[in-house]
């Protein structure tokens, strides 16, 4: 009787372990952050990309307009991929694009914009990446849709055609 019970427990333990691990095998191991994080945009000062003048966030973001904050760098390959979508987004006059030039040098970044076109209304430079941390960013590329000083949508990684139509739907 006792050994039977023991076998049963053993088999059950293995079965449960197997099920747990088997399920774990299929679940994604890429962490997707909780989107209900702080939604208000951080306020800060940044250096303008072109002429080193200081830009204050409160002066950029006006309440009744949509803004698309895009963190990019010339050394980032996926940024090149998403660039055509940014150019597309630029054609929609209802949104302003703000580029965060992330850990980049001026020469490379400006030739990047020269070659591929400049979709941004304002480009600011984030030389040491600390400002992007204030936004809760992970790296490049990453984008935030801002409305009424709040982040209403966040895109980690390069944006694609689907994201683009999603954005255009929101701002319509």
């Amino acid at each position: 009787m006792k050994s039977k019970l023991f076998t049963l427990i053993l088999v059950l333990t293995f079965l449960i372990t197997f099920v747990i691990f088997f399920k774990g095998l299929k679940s994604s191991n890429i962490y997707t952050p909780n989107t209900i994080l702080e939604k208000k945009i951080p306020s800060f000062e940044l250096k303008s990309f072109e002429n080193n003048s200081i830009i204050i966030t409160e002066k950029i973001f006006k309440d009744n307009e949509y803004y698309f904050v895009n963190i990019w760098a010339s050394w980032c390959i996926p940024c090149k991929e998403e660039h055509k979508f940014l150019m597309e987004l630029k054609k929609n006059g209802k949104i302003k694009l703000i580029g965060f030039n992330y850990k980049d040098n001026f020469k490379n970044a400006s030739s990047f914009l020269k070659d591929l076109g400049n979709p941004y209304d304002i480009v600011v430079s984030d030389k040491d990446g600390t400002r992007s941390i204030e936004w809760g960013a992970y790296g490049v590329p990453e984008s935030f849709l801002v409305y009424q000083s709040k982040i209403i949508k966040r895109f980690i990684g390069p944006i694609n055609n689907e994201n683009l139509s999603e954005i255009q739907k929101i701002i319509k």
Binding site: Y31, P33, L37, I133, G136, Y138, G139
Partner: protein, 121 residues
Amino acid sequence: MKFIRIFLIISIILNFNFLKADEVKTENKIAKNLRCLICQGQSVYDSDSEFAISLKLVIKNKIQQGLSEDQIYSFLKMKYGEWILYDPVFNRNTYFLWLLPILIFLAGGAIILKKFIIKNN
């Protein structure tokens, strides 16, 4: 007179270094308690990714601004969620996680008690 002045300067420099050393210590302690979100299984302290380098800079700046360790943790928690902390906070989602070792310990104790002590009696 000159000797005193030199002595003063040296002592000031040394004191300053002590302060600096303390700052670096807390900086490292905080960085070790943070998960590098874009690396696998590494702390911010161990990682050399762009994200971790920037985060370490942010920690340094925050310390220099006079923020305490807890304030820095809560700042980062607000930005990145609880996942960034290695030490999970005790709340509804983590009751099981925190209490399981205690439960197992108690169960083990109960087994030992039953097997050895009660049997001997």
